[in-house]
Symmetry: C2
Subunit: 238 residues, 2 copies
C-alpha cells in the first residue's frame, strides 16, 4: 500500500467537502478505481461557525478542528487539506499539532494561477471573492503581491453586505441558483474595476457560479480545484 | 457532540462514494452547516477489483475491507455504510468484525420502496436492474419476496448482453445519452413484463436515465439515495 493518504478536514460546509472530493476524482488521470487518490475524510459539520467566531459573536472552532486533526493523524494520513478558506485562520495552530503536514489553499491557488493556460499569463489585477475573514487575513493578497507582483481587487463593504454574504448563505441553505445570481453580479463588478482574473476563495462560490453557468468562470481560479490538483500531485509524486 | 457518526466504507469506485455524500447533503433538511450529518469517509480505491475476485480471476478485497472497517471503528463511528452493491458480498464478514453496525443497501432500499409516495403502495412485481454479481447474490430478490411478498422481474441473458452491459459501459465512457437510451429500453421491457416499480441497483443507471429524462424514473428507486436517506434517519433519531 502506498504511503500517500490524503486527510481531508472537511464539513465546513459539507457540500464544499463533497465538491473537493469530486474535483479530486475529476483531476486524476485514471482508467480504473485503483488509480484514484486514496483519501480519508473527516466531514463533521458540527464545527462552530468560523465567520461568527472571527466576528467575536461565536465560540472558537479551534478545539473541534484540533480534534479532527488528531483523528486524521490516528489513521496515519500523509498530508492534510482543509477545504474551507476561512478555517485557514487556524492553519498554523493545526499545522503545529499535526504529524502530517498541512497544505495551504492559497499556496495551491498560486500554483494553479501560474500554471493555468486559460488565465492571462501575468495578470496585473486579480479579483478576490472571499469572506471578511479571508480578506482581512491577507493570505491571498500577500502572495499575489510578493510572488506575482499583482494587485488585488476586493469587494467593498456594500458589495460584501448585499452580494457576497447573502449569496454565500443562500448556497449554505441549498439555494444555489439565488446564490449564483448574487455572486455572478459581484464577479462582474470586480471585472468592471479591472480584475483580469478572479480567485473564488470561498468554497460556496464555484458551485454557485456553476449553477447559473456564469461567464466569469473562464477567467476564474477555483481554490478548491487547485487544492484537488495539489492532492493529485502528491499522489503522483509518491 | 452527538453520538451519531456515520462511517462510509467507500472508494468502490470513488465517484459512487462522492455521489452518496452528495445525496446525504441533499436529503438532509438543514439551514446551516451544523444541521448536517456528521460523516467519516474511508475513500481508498486501492481495494482489489470486486468483480474479478467474484469471477475467481483476482485477489480478494476482504483484507483491505476489514482494514477499512477497523480504521473507521478506531474513530468511534456509530454505523457503517458501503456505497457499492457488489461489495455487499463481504457484508457478513465485515459486520462480524465491526463494533459499529453495518447498514445493508438492500434494507435501505426496502425502506425507500415502502415509503416513496410516488411508488405504488404494494407493488406485486418489482423490476431489478443490476450487475450479474448483484443479481446472482439475491439480496434484493429475497427481501422483496419475504418482506413485501413481491416477485422480482430481472433482465434475461439477452437483455443483459444487449442492453444492460453495453448501457453501463457507455456510461463509464461518458456516453450518458447512449447509455440512457439502452437502459431506458431495458426499463421499458421490465415494465412490459409487469414491473410496477424499478430498483436501479447499479450506480451507472440513475445518471443515465436522468440524461435521457426517462419516464421510468418516477417509478424508480435509487439504492444510493435510499442509503443516504437511511444515514439521515440515523442522524435525526439520535
Amino acid at each position: 500500500m502506498s504511503t500517500t493518504l490524503i486527510g481531508v478536514l472537511g464539513g465546513m460546509g459539507p457540500l464544499a467537502t463533497v465538491d473537493l472530493l469530486h474535483k479530486i476524482v475529476e483531476e486524476t488521470p485514471a482508467s480504473r478505481d485503483q488509480d484514484h487518490v486514496p483519501v480519508v475524510v473527516w466531514n463533521v459539520p458540527q464545527v462552530p461557525d468560523r465567520q461568527q467566531a472571527l466576528a467575536g459573536t461565536g465560540e472558537s472552532p479551534l478545539p473541534m478542528l484540533l480534534h479532527a486533526v488528531r483523528q486524521l493523524n490516528r489513521l496515519s494520513v500523509s498530508h492534510i487539506v482543509v477545504p474551507c478558506n476561512t478555517a485557514h485562520h487556524w492553519f498554523d495552530a493545526l499545522a503545529e499539532t499535526s504529524d502530517a503536514p498541512l497544505v495551504h489553499m492559497a499556496d495551491a491557488t498560486l500554483h494553479a494561477l501560474t500554471h493555468a493556460a486559460e488565465i492571462k499569463a501575468s495578470p496585473r489585477k486579480i479579483g478576490l471573492i472571499a469572506t471578511h475573514g479571508t480578506l482581512n487575513a491577507g493570505w491571498y493578497q500577500q502572495r499575489f503581491a510578493t510572488r506575482l507582483c499583482a494587485e488585488t481587487v476586493v469587494p467593498d463593504e456594500q458589495e460584501m453586505a448585499t452580494l457576497f454574504v447573502p449569496g454565500c448563505y443562500a448556497v449554505k441553505r441549498g439555494e444555489l441558483s439565488l446564490g449564483g445570481q448574487l455572486l455572478d453580479r459581484l464577479a462582474a463588478q470586480l471585472v468592471a474595476r479591472g480584475a483580469e482574473s478572479l480567485v473564488l476563495a470561498c468554497t460556496e462560490v464555484p458551485p454557485a457560479l456553476h449553477a447559473v453557468a456564469s461567464r466569469w468562470r473562464t477567467i476564474s481560479i477555483d481554490p478548491t480545484r487547485a487544492l484537488a490538483q495539489a492532492c493529485v500531485r502528491l499522489w503522483q509524486q509518491r
